[in-house]
């Protein structure tokens, strides 16, 4: 009996299928929770809070599912190498857009002022001239 090379070791087909389906289903449920949060909360920072975090986790889970669906260990490593830029870009850009939208919501007056516990922007009500 010859030993198969390490990179050629493969998950059995049904096991890989079940893992992929469960990961994709978890990612889909996280997307659904973000959408439910969009409908549930009342002002822009609340919706932002519900929208940005579960989405990124859902993308990570689905990217893991893409890697697992290759079945062999070499294929999984290759798949991880391919999907890691997507995850990194998502991690880099989601806080950026959330920060811009949240600050603009504060300046626009579309947030519920009475729900704030601490208001650290209050002293700098005047927008600095070069601020975005």
């Amino acid at each position: 009996m010859t030993q198969t090379p390490f990179l050629e070791l493969a998950l059995p087909q049904p096991v890989a299928d079940v893992i992929v389906l469960v990961l994709v289903l978890l990612g889909a449920i996280l997307c659904l929770s973000a959408a439910v949060g969009l409908l549930h909360f009342r002002d822009v920072p609340g919706r932002l809070h519900a929208a940005t975090k579960p989405q990124v986790l859902g993308v990570v889970l689905i990217c893991l599912a893409i890697a697992v669906s290759q079945r062999t260990i070499g294929g999984m490593l290759m798949g991880l190498l391919i999907v890691i830029p997507v995850i990194l870009l998502q991690f880099a850009t989601a806080p950026l857009s959330a920060h811009m939208v949240g600050r603009q919501a504060y300046r626009n007056g579309t947030i519920n002022q009475r729900a704030l516990v601490a208001d650290e922007y209050a002293e700098s009500k005047q927008t600095p001239p070069a601020a975005g």
């Binding site: 990612g27 997307c31 850009t93």
Partner: protein, 89 residues
């Protein structure tokens, strides 16, 4: 197995529908921006789910470009939306 695929499709569909409802009803333009951002990320998730379930890698460039470019939409809207700097109470 088939039941799980149907459940995944139903969950994605319901999530997209809720996002569209928020885009239609959103009281301010920032609500619509946040909802459309969520919808765009969900399109990314659907492309990835298609790749994972059918076992191919053809959608990776589309996912990469959406992940890189999606941020500019919200930043542009947040930058140029009309601001009321000193609201007189």
């Amino acid at each position: 197995m088939n039941f799980l695929v149907m459940a995944i499709m139903a969950v994605f569909g319901v999530a997209a529908l809720l996002c569209v409802i928020r885009i239609i009803r959103g009281p301010s333009i920032l609500d619509r921006t946040v909802a459309s951002d969520v919808l765009l990320t969900e399109v990314m998730c659907v492309l990835g789910a298609d790749m994972a379930l059918n076992g191919h890698m053809r959608n990776v460039p589309v996912m990469l470009i959406i992940a890189a470019v999606a941020v500019f939409g919200s930043i542009a809207v947040a930058r140029y939306v009309a601001r009321r700097d000193n609201p007189t109470p």
